[in-house]
Chain length 223, copies 2
DNA sequence: CGCGACACTTGAACGTGTTCAACTTCGATG
DNA sequence: CATCGAAGTTGAACACGTTCAAGTGTCGCG
Protein backbone atom coordinates (compact mmCIF):
# COMPACT_ATOMS: atom_id res chain seq x y z
CA UNK A 1 0.00 0.00 0.00
CA UNK A 2 2.53 2.62 1.11
CA UNK A 3 4.85 3.50 -1.69
CA UNK A 4 8.30 2.49 -0.47
CA UNK A 5 7.80 -0.37 1.94
CA UNK A 6 9.38 -3.31 0.17
CA UNK A 7 9.34 -5.33 3.30
CA UNK A 8 9.12 -4.80 7.01
CA UNK A 9 12.11 -6.88 7.94
CA UNK A 10 14.32 -5.46 5.21
CA UNK A 11 13.74 -1.85 6.12
CA UNK A 12 14.47 -2.54 9.76
CA UNK A 13 17.81 -4.07 8.90
CA UNK A 14 18.72 -1.14 6.68
CA UNK A 15 17.85 1.35 9.40
CA UNK A 16 19.68 -0.60 12.09
CA UNK A 17 22.81 -0.69 9.96
CA UNK A 18 22.66 3.01 9.12
CA UNK A 19 22.09 3.91 12.77
CA UNK A 20 24.93 1.72 13.98
CA UNK A 21 27.25 3.23 11.42
CA UNK A 22 26.40 6.78 12.44
CA UNK A 23 26.92 5.98 16.10
CA UNK A 24 30.29 4.42 15.45
CA UNK A 25 31.44 7.18 13.12
CA UNK A 26 30.73 9.68 15.89
CA UNK A 27 32.41 7.56 18.55
CA UNK A 28 35.54 6.54 16.69
CA UNK A 29 35.71 8.36 13.38
CA UNK A 30 35.54 6.91 9.90
CA UNK A 31 38.82 5.02 9.70
CA UNK A 32 38.48 3.26 13.03
CA UNK A 33 34.96 2.15 12.32
CA UNK A 34 35.06 -1.31 10.79
CA UNK A 35 32.31 -2.87 8.79
CA UNK A 36 32.41 -5.79 11.20
CA UNK A 37 31.76 -3.47 14.12
CA UNK A 38 28.88 -1.83 12.28
CA UNK A 39 27.35 -5.21 11.51
CA UNK A 40 27.78 -6.41 15.06
CA UNK A 41 26.18 -3.33 16.62
CA UNK A 42 23.34 -3.50 14.13
CA UNK A 43 22.84 -7.14 15.06
CA UNK A 44 23.33 -8.44 11.55
CA UNK A 45 26.04 -10.35 9.75
CA UNK A 46 28.90 -8.72 7.91
CA UNK A 47 27.58 -9.81 4.55
CA UNK A 48 24.18 -8.40 5.35
CA UNK A 49 25.62 -4.91 5.74
CA UNK A 50 26.83 -5.20 2.17
CA UNK A 51 23.40 -6.31 1.03
CA UNK A 52 22.05 -2.88 1.94
CA UNK A 53 25.10 -0.66 1.50
CA UNK A 54 27.36 -1.61 -1.32
CA UNK A 55 30.42 -0.06 0.31
CA UNK A 56 31.61 1.63 3.45
CA UNK A 57 31.47 4.93 1.64
CA UNK A 58 27.78 4.54 1.04
CA UNK A 59 27.27 4.47 4.80
CA UNK A 60 28.57 8.03 4.96
CA UNK A 61 25.95 9.31 2.56
CA UNK A 62 23.37 9.25 5.35
CA UNK A 63 25.56 11.60 7.35
CA UNK A 64 25.96 13.84 4.38
CA UNK A 65 22.23 13.99 3.90
CA UNK A 66 21.63 14.55 7.59
CA UNK A 67 23.91 17.58 7.73
CA UNK A 68 22.33 18.85 4.57
CA UNK A 69 18.84 18.59 5.99
CA UNK A 70 19.79 20.19 9.30
CA UNK A 71 21.51 23.01 7.50
CA UNK A 72 18.48 23.69 5.37
CA UNK A 73 16.26 23.77 8.41
CA UNK A 74 18.50 25.99 10.54
CA UNK A 75 19.36 28.29 7.66
CA UNK A 76 15.73 28.89 6.73
CA UNK A 77 14.95 29.75 10.34
CA UNK A 78 17.83 32.19 10.64
CA UNK A 79 17.13 33.79 7.28
CA UNK A 80 13.80 35.00 8.56
CA UNK A 81 13.69 38.78 8.93
CA UNK A 82 16.96 39.44 7.12
CA UNK A 83 16.84 41.29 3.84
CA UNK A 84 20.39 42.43 3.08
CA UNK A 85 22.16 39.93 0.86
CA UNK A 86 25.31 39.97 2.98
CA UNK A 87 23.28 39.38 6.11
CA UNK A 88 21.48 36.46 4.58
CA UNK A 89 24.59 34.88 3.11
CA UNK A 90 26.46 35.21 6.39
CA UNK A 91 23.59 33.65 8.28
CA UNK A 92 23.43 30.71 5.88
CA UNK A 93 27.16 30.07 5.97
CA UNK A 94 27.45 30.34 9.75
CA UNK A 95 24.47 28.04 10.05
CA UNK A 96 26.40 25.42 8.15
CA UNK A 97 29.43 25.76 10.39
CA UNK A 98 27.23 25.44 13.46
CA UNK A 99 25.46 22.38 12.14
CA UNK A 100 28.65 20.69 10.99
CA UNK A 101 30.72 21.51 14.07
CA UNK A 102 30.05 18.26 15.97
CA UNK A 103 31.37 16.31 13.02
CA UNK A 104 34.43 18.40 12.32
CA UNK A 105 36.90 15.96 13.76
CA UNK A 106 35.98 13.00 11.65
CA UNK A 107 34.68 15.02 8.74
CA UNK A 108 38.31 15.44 7.79
CA UNK A 109 38.62 11.68 7.63
CA UNK A 110 35.95 11.17 5.07
CA UNK A 111 36.64 14.36 3.24
CA UNK A 112 39.20 12.40 1.28
CA UNK A 113 36.52 9.95 0.36
CA UNK A 114 34.33 12.78 -0.88
CA UNK A 115 37.21 14.18 -2.89
CA UNK A 116 37.60 10.97 -4.86
CA UNK A 117 36.10 11.69 -8.28
CA UNK A 118 34.95 8.10 -8.51
CA UNK A 119 33.17 8.13 -5.20
CA UNK A 120 29.41 8.46 -4.90
CA UNK A 121 30.11 11.00 -2.18
CA UNK A 122 31.83 13.41 -4.48
CA UNK A 123 29.79 16.62 -4.64
CA UNK A 124 29.96 16.26 -8.41
CA UNK A 125 28.75 12.68 -8.63
CA UNK A 126 25.32 11.80 -9.98
CA UNK A 127 24.44 10.22 -6.64
CA UNK A 128 25.04 13.54 -4.93
CA UNK A 129 22.87 15.50 -7.32
CA UNK A 130 19.93 15.71 -4.91
CA UNK A 131 22.13 16.91 -2.05
CA UNK A 132 23.85 19.35 -4.35
CA UNK A 133 20.58 20.71 -5.66
CA UNK A 134 19.34 21.13 -2.11
CA UNK A 135 22.49 23.03 -1.18
CA UNK A 136 22.16 25.29 -4.18
CA UNK A 137 18.53 25.71 -3.21
CA UNK A 138 19.50 27.22 0.12
CA UNK A 139 21.55 29.81 -1.65
CA UNK A 140 18.70 30.44 -4.04
CA UNK A 141 16.64 31.25 -0.97
CA UNK A 142 19.41 33.52 0.25
CA UNK A 143 19.42 35.44 -3.02
CA UNK A 144 15.73 35.54 -3.78
CA UNK A 145 14.74 36.73 -0.33
CA UNK A 146 17.21 39.58 -0.42
CA UNK A 147 16.68 43.15 -1.51
CA UNK A 148 19.86 43.14 -3.58
CA UNK A 149 19.44 45.05 -6.79
CA UNK A 150 20.96 42.89 -9.47
CA UNK A 151 20.17 42.04 -13.04
CA UNK A 152 18.07 39.01 -13.78
CA UNK A 153 20.94 36.90 -15.10
CA UNK A 154 23.08 37.59 -12.06
CA UNK A 155 20.21 36.69 -9.80
CA UNK A 156 19.86 33.42 -11.68
CA UNK A 157 23.53 32.51 -11.56
CA UNK A 158 24.29 33.69 -8.05
CA UNK A 159 22.99 30.66 -6.13
CA UNK A 160 25.34 28.32 -7.92
CA UNK A 161 28.26 30.72 -7.53
CA UNK A 162 27.56 31.01 -3.82
CA UNK A 163 27.45 27.24 -3.57
CA UNK A 164 30.92 27.11 -5.09
CA UNK A 165 32.04 29.70 -2.59
CA UNK A 166 30.68 27.49 0.13
CA UNK A 167 32.61 24.50 -1.22
CA UNK A 168 35.74 26.62 -0.87
CA UNK A 169 34.79 27.50 2.68
CA UNK A 170 34.22 23.84 3.46
CA UNK A 171 37.72 23.12 2.17
CA UNK A 172 39.07 25.78 4.50
CA UNK A 173 36.94 24.42 7.33
CA UNK A 174 38.24 20.89 6.92
CA UNK A 175 41.77 22.16 7.37
CA UNK A 176 40.85 24.53 10.19
CA UNK A 177 42.21 23.27 13.50
CA UNK A 178 41.23 26.33 15.55
CA UNK A 179 38.88 26.06 18.51
CA UNK A 180 35.27 25.85 17.33
CA UNK A 181 36.57 26.53 13.83
CA UNK A 182 36.97 30.16 14.82
CA UNK A 183 39.15 30.89 11.84
CA UNK A 184 36.52 29.68 9.41
CA UNK A 185 33.96 31.83 11.18
CA UNK A 186 36.25 34.80 10.86
CA UNK A 187 36.76 34.02 7.20
CA UNK A 188 33.02 34.06 6.66
CA UNK A 189 32.54 37.29 8.61
CA UNK A 190 35.14 39.02 6.53
CA UNK A 191 34.30 37.41 3.22
CA UNK A 192 30.60 38.20 3.24
CA UNK A 193 30.99 41.99 3.00
CA UNK A 194 33.34 41.49 0.09
CA UNK A 195 30.75 39.39 -1.73
CA UNK A 196 28.22 42.07 -0.96
CA UNK A 197 30.44 44.71 -2.50
CA UNK A 198 31.10 42.61 -5.56
CA UNK A 199 27.39 42.19 -6.14
CA UNK A 200 26.78 45.91 -5.66
CA UNK A 201 29.54 46.73 -8.10
CA UNK A 202 28.36 44.19 -10.65
CA UNK A 203 26.17 46.74 -12.41
CA UNK A 204 28.94 49.25 -12.99
CA UNK A 205 29.65 49.91 -16.68
CA UNK A 206 33.13 48.45 -16.78
CA UNK A 207 32.27 45.52 -14.55
CA UNK A 208 29.02 44.37 -16.09
CA UNK A 209 30.80 42.85 -19.08
CA UNK A 210 33.08 40.76 -16.90
CA UNK A 211 30.16 39.44 -14.95
CA UNK A 212 28.20 38.38 -18.01
CA UNK A 213 31.31 36.71 -19.40
CA UNK A 214 31.65 34.75 -16.20
CA UNK A 215 28.02 33.71 -16.23
CA UNK A 216 28.27 32.60 -19.85
CA UNK A 217 31.34 30.60 -18.94
CA UNK A 218 29.53 28.91 -16.11
CA UNK A 219 26.65 27.98 -18.38
CA UNK A 220 28.95 26.68 -21.09
CA UNK A 221 30.99 24.52 -18.75
CA UNK A 222 28.10 22.89 -16.95
CA UNK A 223 27.96 19.19 -17.89
CA UNK B 1 82.67 11.22 0.92
CA UNK B 2 79.70 12.35 -1.17
CA UNK B 3 77.03 13.89 1.01
CA UNK B 4 74.01 11.64 0.65
CA UNK B 5 75.34 8.19 -0.12
CA UNK B 6 74.50 6.19 2.96
CA UNK B 7 75.21 3.01 1.16
CA UNK B 8 75.46 1.73 -2.36
CA UNK B 9 73.11 -1.16 -1.94
CA UNK B 10 70.51 0.86 -0.06
CA UNK B 11 70.20 3.58 -2.62
CA UNK B 12 69.84 1.07 -5.41
CA UNK B 13 66.94 -0.61 -3.66
CA UNK B 14 65.23 2.73 -3.04
CA UNK B 15 65.57 3.70 -6.69
CA UNK B 16 64.42 0.30 -7.94
CA UNK B 17 61.32 0.50 -5.77
CA UNK B 18 60.48 4.04 -6.83
CA UNK B 19 60.97 3.16 -10.50
CA UNK B 20 58.87 0.02 -10.25
CA UNK B 21 56.10 1.96 -8.56
CA UNK B 22 56.03 4.63 -11.22
CA UNK B 23 55.95 2.04 -13.99
CA UNK B 24 53.10 0.21 -12.38
CA UNK B 25 51.13 3.36 -11.59
CA UNK B 26 51.29 4.24 -15.27
CA UNK B 27 50.40 0.73 -16.42
CA UNK B 28 47.55 -0.02 -14.05
CA UNK B 29 46.73 3.07 -12.05
CA UNK B 30 47.08 3.65 -8.33
CA UNK B 31 44.43 1.34 -6.96
CA UNK B 32 45.38 -1.67 -9.05
CA UNK B 33 49.04 -1.33 -8.20
CA UNK B 34 49.73 -3.49 -5.18
CA UNK B 35 52.67 -3.11 -2.89
CA UNK B 36 53.45 -6.75 -3.56
CA UNK B 37 53.64 -6.10 -7.28
CA UNK B 38 55.90 -3.11 -6.71
CA UNK B 39 58.21 -5.16 -4.54
CA UNK B 40 58.27 -8.02 -7.01
CA UNK B 41 59.12 -5.82 -10.00
CA UNK B 42 61.76 -4.04 -7.99
CA UNK B 43 63.22 -7.41 -7.07
CA UNK B 44 62.89 -6.91 -3.35
CA UNK B 45 60.68 -8.29 -0.65
CA UNK B 46 57.40 -6.73 0.42
CA UNK B 47 58.80 -5.66 3.76
CA UNK B 48 61.73 -4.03 2.07
CA UNK B 49 59.49 -1.66 0.16
CA UNK B 50 58.21 -0.44 3.50
CA UNK B 51 61.73 0.03 4.76
CA UNK B 52 62.20 2.79 2.19
CA UNK B 53 58.67 4.11 1.76
CA UNK B 54 56.57 4.15 4.85
CA UNK B 55 53.33 3.90 2.94
CA UNK B 56 51.89 3.50 -0.52
CA UNK B 57 51.07 7.20 -0.52
CA UNK B 58 54.69 8.11 -0.15
CA UNK B 59 55.38 6.38 -3.43
CA UNK B 60 53.20 8.96 -5.14
CA UNK B 61 55.19 11.94 -3.92
CA UNK B 62 57.82 11.33 -6.58
CA UNK B 63 55.17 11.66 -9.24
CA UNK B 64 53.91 14.85 -7.71
CA UNK B 65 57.37 16.38 -7.71
CA UNK B 66 58.04 15.19 -11.22
CA UNK B 67 54.95 16.87 -12.65
CA UNK B 68 55.78 20.01 -10.73
CA UNK B 69 59.29 20.16 -12.13
CA UNK B 70 58.20 19.44 -15.70
CA UNK B 71 55.53 22.08 -15.47
CA UNK B 72 58.01 24.69 -14.31
CA UNK B 73 60.34 23.85 -17.14
CA UNK B 74 57.74 23.79 -19.90
CA UNK B 75 55.95 26.87 -18.58
CA UNK B 76 59.10 28.96 -18.45
CA UNK B 77 59.91 27.97 -22.01
CA UNK B 78 56.46 28.86 -23.31
CA UNK B 79 56.31 32.11 -21.38
CA UNK B 80 59.21 33.43 -23.41
CA UNK B 81 58.15 36.22 -25.76
CA UNK B 82 54.69 36.69 -24.28
CA UNK B 83 53.92 39.95 -22.51
CA UNK B 84 50.15 40.14 -22.16
CA UNK B 85 49.02 38.79 -18.78
CA UNK B 86 46.24 36.73 -20.31
CA UNK B 87 48.65 35.22 -22.81
CA UNK B 88 51.10 34.30 -20.14
CA UNK B 89 48.52 32.88 -17.78
CA UNK B 90 46.96 30.82 -20.55
CA UNK B 91 50.34 29.47 -21.57
CA UNK B 92 51.19 28.47 -18.02
CA UNK B 93 47.86 26.75 -17.42
CA UNK B 94 47.84 24.89 -20.72
CA UNK B 95 51.41 23.83 -20.03
CA UNK B 96 50.23 22.17 -16.87
CA UNK B 97 47.45 20.31 -18.66
CA UNK B 98 49.91 19.12 -21.30
CA UNK B 99 52.41 17.94 -18.74
CA UNK B 100 49.80 16.22 -16.60
CA UNK B 101 47.86 14.61 -19.45
CA UNK B 102 49.69 11.25 -19.45
CA UNK B 103 48.77 10.84 -15.81
CA UNK B 104 45.18 11.95 -15.99
CA UNK B 105 43.68 8.51 -15.69
CA UNK B 106 45.33 7.54 -12.49
CA UNK B 107 45.73 11.08 -11.18
CA UNK B 108 42.06 10.90 -10.34
CA UNK B 109 42.77 7.83 -8.25
CA UNK B 110 45.28 9.47 -6.01
CA UNK B 111 43.59 12.81 -6.00
CA UNK B 112 41.64 11.54 -3.02
CA UNK B 113 44.89 10.89 -1.26
CA UNK B 114 46.01 14.45 -1.90
CA UNK B 115 42.69 15.77 -0.67
CA UNK B 116 43.08 14.13 2.72
CA UNK B 117 43.93 16.95 5.11
CA UNK B 118 46.13 14.59 7.10
CA UNK B 119 48.12 13.40 4.12
CA UNK B 120 51.60 14.70 3.37
CA UNK B 121 50.42 15.00 -0.22
CA UNK B 122 47.80 17.61 0.58
CA UNK B 123 48.69 20.89 -1.12
CA UNK B 124 48.24 22.56 2.24
CA UNK B 125 50.49 20.25 4.23
CA UNK B 126 53.86 21.40 5.54
CA UNK B 127 55.53 18.65 3.51
CA UNK B 128 54.09 20.14 0.34
CA UNK B 129 55.26 23.65 1.11
CA UNK B 130 58.22 23.46 -1.30
CA UNK B 131 56.04 22.19 -4.13
CA UNK B 132 53.41 24.80 -3.34
CA UNK B 133 55.95 27.59 -3.26
CA UNK B 134 57.31 26.43 -6.59
CA UNK B 135 53.83 26.45 -8.08
CA UNK B 136 53.15 29.95 -6.79
CA UNK B 137 56.54 30.89 -8.15
CA UNK B 138 55.45 29.99 -11.67
CA UNK B 139 52.53 32.35 -11.36
CA UNK B 140 54.82 35.01 -9.94
CA UNK B 141 56.79 34.66 -13.14
CA UNK B 142 53.57 34.93 -15.13
CA UNK B 143 52.67 38.17 -13.40
CA UNK B 144 56.05 39.82 -13.15
CA UNK B 145 56.93 39.23 -16.76
CA UNK B 146 53.70 40.75 -17.97
CA UNK B 147 52.98 44.30 -19.01
CA UNK B 148 49.78 44.40 -16.99
CA UNK B 149 49.27 47.74 -15.33
CA UNK B 150 48.25 46.97 -11.79
CA UNK B 151 48.92 48.46 -8.40
CA UNK B 152 51.78 47.13 -6.37
CA UNK B 153 49.62 45.26 -3.86
CA UNK B 154 47.66 43.51 -6.58
CA UNK B 155 50.87 42.50 -8.28
CA UNK B 156 52.06 41.04 -4.98
CA UNK B 157 48.87 39.12 -4.26
CA UNK B 158 48.13 37.94 -7.77
CA UNK B 159 50.49 34.95 -7.90
CA UNK B 160 48.83 33.31 -4.93
CA UNK B 161 45.38 34.08 -6.27
CA UNK B 162 46.29 32.57 -9.62
CA UNK B 163 47.61 29.50 -7.83
CA UNK B 164 44.22 29.11 -6.17
CA UNK B 165 42.58 29.48 -9.54
CA UNK B 166 44.82 26.71 -10.78
CA UNK B 167 43.79 24.48 -7.89
CA UNK B 168 40.21 24.98 -9.02
CA UNK B 169 41.15 24.10 -12.57
CA UNK B 170 42.90 20.97 -11.35
CA UNK B 171 39.72 20.01 -9.56
CA UNK B 172 37.80 20.46 -12.81
CA UNK B 173 40.49 18.55 -14.69
CA UNK B 174 40.33 15.59 -12.38
CA UNK B 175 36.63 15.25 -13.08
CA UNK B 176 37.03 15.92 -16.79
CA UNK B 177 36.42 12.75 -18.80
CA UNK B 178 36.58 14.38 -22.23
CA UNK B 179 39.16 13.33 -24.82
CA UNK B 180 42.52 14.89 -24.05
CA UNK B 181 40.77 16.89 -21.33
CA UNK B 182 39.35 19.11 -24.04
CA UNK B 183 36.80 20.59 -21.71
CA UNK B 184 39.43 21.74 -19.26
CA UNK B 185 41.35 23.29 -22.11
CA UNK B 186 38.21 25.10 -23.21
CA UNK B 187 37.66 26.25 -19.65
CA UNK B 188 41.13 27.74 -19.57
CA UNK B 189 40.76 29.39 -22.97
CA UNK B 190 37.56 31.05 -21.87
CA UNK B 191 38.55 31.80 -18.31
CA UNK B 192 41.80 33.56 -19.09
CA UNK B 193 40.23 36.55 -20.86
CA UNK B 194 37.89 36.97 -17.92
CA UNK B 195 40.82 37.08 -15.52
CA UNK B 196 42.46 39.58 -17.83
CA UNK B 197 39.38 41.77 -17.73
CA UNK B 198 39.12 41.54 -13.97
CA UNK B 199 42.70 42.68 -13.61
CA UNK B 200 42.16 45.54 -16.04
CA UNK B 201 39.07 46.61 -14.16
CA UNK B 202 40.73 46.33 -10.77
CA UNK B 203 41.83 49.95 -10.84
CA UNK B 204 38.37 51.36 -11.43
CA UNK B 205 37.16 53.63 -8.62
CA UNK B 206 34.31 51.43 -7.45
CA UNK B 207 36.25 48.21 -7.84
CA UNK B 208 39.54 49.14 -6.23
CA UNK B 209 38.06 48.98 -2.75
CA UNK B 210 36.74 45.46 -3.27
CA UNK B 211 40.13 44.29 -4.48
CA UNK B 212 42.02 45.69 -1.52
CA UNK B 213 39.47 44.13 0.82
CA UNK B 214 40.06 40.79 -0.80
CA UNK B 215 43.83 41.12 -0.55
CA UNK B 216 43.59 42.10 3.11
CA UNK B 217 41.41 39.09 3.69
CA UNK B 218 43.92 36.81 2.03
CA UNK B 219 46.72 38.19 4.17
CA UNK B 220 44.72 37.88 7.37
CA UNK B 221 43.69 34.29 6.71
CA UNK B 222 47.09 32.96 5.81
CA UNK B 223 48.34 30.56 8.50
C1' DC C 1 91.02 -12.50 12.82
C1' DG C 2 86.89 -11.79 15.90
C1' DC C 3 83.24 -9.17 17.08
C1' DG C 4 79.92 -5.82 17.71
C1' DA C 5 76.99 -2.34 15.64
C1' DC C 6 74.17 -1.06 12.22
C1' DA C 7 72.01 -0.84 7.61
C1' DC C 8 69.45 -3.74 5.17
C1' DT C 9 66.30 -7.67 4.05
C1' DT C 10 62.84 -11.14 4.69
C1' DG C 11 58.21 -13.39 4.77
C1' DA C 12 54.77 -14.67 7.97
C1' DA C 13 50.95 -12.64 10.29
C1' DC C 14 47.26 -9.22 11.30
C1' DG C 15 43.16 -6.55 10.43
C1' DT C 16 40.73 -4.60 6.91
C1' DG C 17 37.02 -3.91 2.96
C1' DT C 18 34.75 -6.69 -0.15
C1' DT C 19 32.78 -10.89 -2.61
C1' DC C 20 30.17 -14.97 -3.01
C1' DA C 21 27.83 -19.36 -3.00
C1' DA C 22 24.87 -21.37 -0.05
C1' DC C 23 21.12 -21.09 3.13
C1' DT C 24 16.61 -19.39 5.25
C1' DT C 25 12.18 -16.77 5.30
C1' DC C 26 8.05 -15.69 3.69
C1' DG C 27 4.31 -14.22 0.84
C1' DA C 28 1.89 -15.30 -3.34
C1' DT C 29 0.16 -18.68 -6.54
C1' DG C 30 -1.81 -22.99 -8.18
C1' DC D 1 -2.03 -26.93 1.73
C1' DA D 2 2.25 -27.47 -1.14
C1' DT D 3 5.42 -25.19 -3.93
C1' DC D 4 8.07 -21.73 -6.03
C1' DG D 5 10.75 -17.61 -6.37
C1' DA D 6 12.34 -13.48 -4.63
C1' DA D 7 14.05 -11.08 -0.65
C1' DG D 8 16.87 -11.45 2.97
C1' DT D 9 20.82 -13.51 5.55
C1' DT D 10 25.06 -15.85 6.59
C1' DG D 11 30.09 -16.59 7.44
C1' DA D 12 33.99 -18.33 5.09
C1' DA D 13 37.31 -16.77 1.82
C1' DC D 14 40.10 -13.41 -0.82
C1' DA D 15 43.39 -9.67 -1.72
C1' DC D 16 45.12 -5.91 0.05
C1' DG D 17 48.10 -2.39 3.07
C1' DT D 18 50.76 -2.60 6.89
C1' DT D 19 53.65 -4.39 10.91
C1' DC D 20 57.23 -6.87 13.01
C1' DA D 21 60.42 -10.13 15.03
C1' DA D 22 63.94 -12.42 13.12
C1' DG D 23 67.52 -12.89 9.92
C1' DT D 24 71.73 -11.50 6.74
C1' DG D 25 75.35 -8.80 5.10
C1' DT D 26 79.07 -5.38 5.81
C1' DC D 27 82.09 -2.17 7.80
C1' DG D 28 85.35 -0.60 11.33
C1' DC D 29 87.85 -1.40 15.42
C1' DG D 30 90.53 -4.04 18.82
Amino acid sequence: MSEAAKSERGEQSRLAIAAAAQELFLERGYDKTTMRAVAERAGVSLGNAYYYFSSKEHLVQAFYDGIQASHAEVAVRRLDGRVALGDRLGAALIAWIDVAEPFHEFAAQFFKVAADPGSPLSPFSPESAPARDAAVGIHRLVVEGSDAKVTKDVRAALPELLWMLQMGIVLFWVHDQSEGQARTRELVQRLVPVVDKVVKVSRLPGVKGVITDLIDLLDAMRP
